[in-house]
């Protein structure tokens, strides 16, 4: 095996990688935030709403969780545009990622919400909390605290999955890699660099979610015990 690694192209092309990574971060942060919102609402509906709401929400979760993200992206980007709804690659990517993320988050949050005991709700009632206060402070935050490890790994998985949006020419990190490797023919080096960047991003995201967890779950931070 006589292969010499040559990273010389980096001197010229590193701004491309930075721009690609930045778009990946933007795409995923927006998708995570919106996906979490969608998932939380759907989880509440799935647990507390009537049957005519629970069934469609359940169908949404099952349909998304049992089909590949790649095909979902194609349906949003190519499918919707053929029906007359033209969306840019970035917008399509965000929509597909949010829809996908929402389904997974629904399942995770549902597990958390179902772990909240009925007596907690009754206690909140007795204390005279309003409906909204009960949902936020008694149901959602404690539920989220319990499933936070699962949530944050799902967020990191979404960040990695965002590489798939390169297939509809969203100029994120993976698409940048494809572009640079077709210019330089240094595919091995390019993909190794990008793999390292993704690895760094996933470490960074984990650290970020840990910090957010500290800020969000005051009780856990002060007592240091599991709920």
């Amino acid at each position: 095996m006589s292969y010499t690694f040559d990273f010389a192209f980096l001197a010229e092309r590193w701004p491309d990688f930075v721009a690609g990574a930045w778009l990946t971060v933007q795409l995923t942060v927006v998708s995570i935030a919106l996906g979490l919102a969608v998932g939380t609402v759907c989880a509440l509906l799935r647990v507390y709403a009537g049957r005519w709401v629970r069934i469609p929400v359940g169908a949404y979760v099952e349909l998304i969780r049992n089909t590949p993200l790649l095909v979902q992206i194609f349906i949003v980007y190519f499918g919707l545009s053929s029906l007359g709804l033209k969306l840019s690659a970035e917008v399509s990517a965000v929509i597909a990622l949010v829809v996908n993320m929402g389904a997974y988050t629904t399942e995770i949050m549902r597990a958390g919400i179902q772990s909240i005991q009925r007596t907690q709700l009754e206690a909140a009632d007795c204390l005279g909390l309003t409906r909204l206060q009960t949902i936020v402070h008694v149901v959602l935050l404690p539920a989220m605290e319990r499933v936070y490890p699962a949530l944050s790994s799902q967020f990191v998985l979404l960040m990695l999955a965002s590489s798939i949006t390169s297939q509809i020419s969203t100029e994120e990190l993976t698409a940048t890699a494809n572009l640079v490797q077709s210019d330089t023919y240094r595919s091995f080096e390019v993909y190794i660099i990008v793999a390292v960047v993704y690895l760094a991003l996933s470490v960074l995201y984990r650290f970020g979610f840990w910090l957010i967890g500290l800020a969000l779950f005051v009780r856990k931070r002060k007592l240091g015990t599991a709920l």
Partner: protein, 215 residues
Amino acid sequence: MIQLNANHFLYLLQAAQWTLLLSLIAFAGGSVVGLALALLRVSRIGVLRVLASGYIQLIQGTPLLIILFLSYFGLGIMGFKLVPIVAAGLSLTLYAAAFLGEIWRGCIEAVPRTQWEASDCLGLNRFQQYAYVILPQSVRLAIPPTVGFMVQIVKNTSLASVIGFVELARAGQIVNNSTFEPFTIFTVVAAIYFAMCYPLSLAARALERKAHAGR
């Protein structure tokens, strides 16, 4: 432009067989490597534990797409020209192994400590402990999450389309290129994936319920 007809759907169904084959390759390869990884993760030798967990962290922190590109284009340029199915099988094996290894480690560790101690007292050696006492018990715990992960494998084979392996997703793109009816085609493609994955999801859930029935 060609009208969408029944032959196109037959073609998609044929391609779905390749999806299934690739899933089987990935699952078989991933199981062998994953079992080795799980055993290394609970090894008594520190270096082995670190190496195995390093590998798992590495794979779980990189997108499968990049692993695919590395094994197809990367190895190709280094002189190992792999055909798409081999490159895809290899990447999916590496990927599945990391996740299965981690799932199964949990299942091995979930076997109560006292089982280890009892088998120690009976004078079983390390191999006998694993073969006759620990692994048979962990397998029961491992089946539901493993079936659940098979869904991920089937879905992720769709990424093999990017290196030109004609499985279901790629076949959808090919049909779309000649008929240009993306909404219909990709909905059908999604439906075929759903038909493959949903039974697995249901099975995983049923097995899970059965496993917890005693509690």
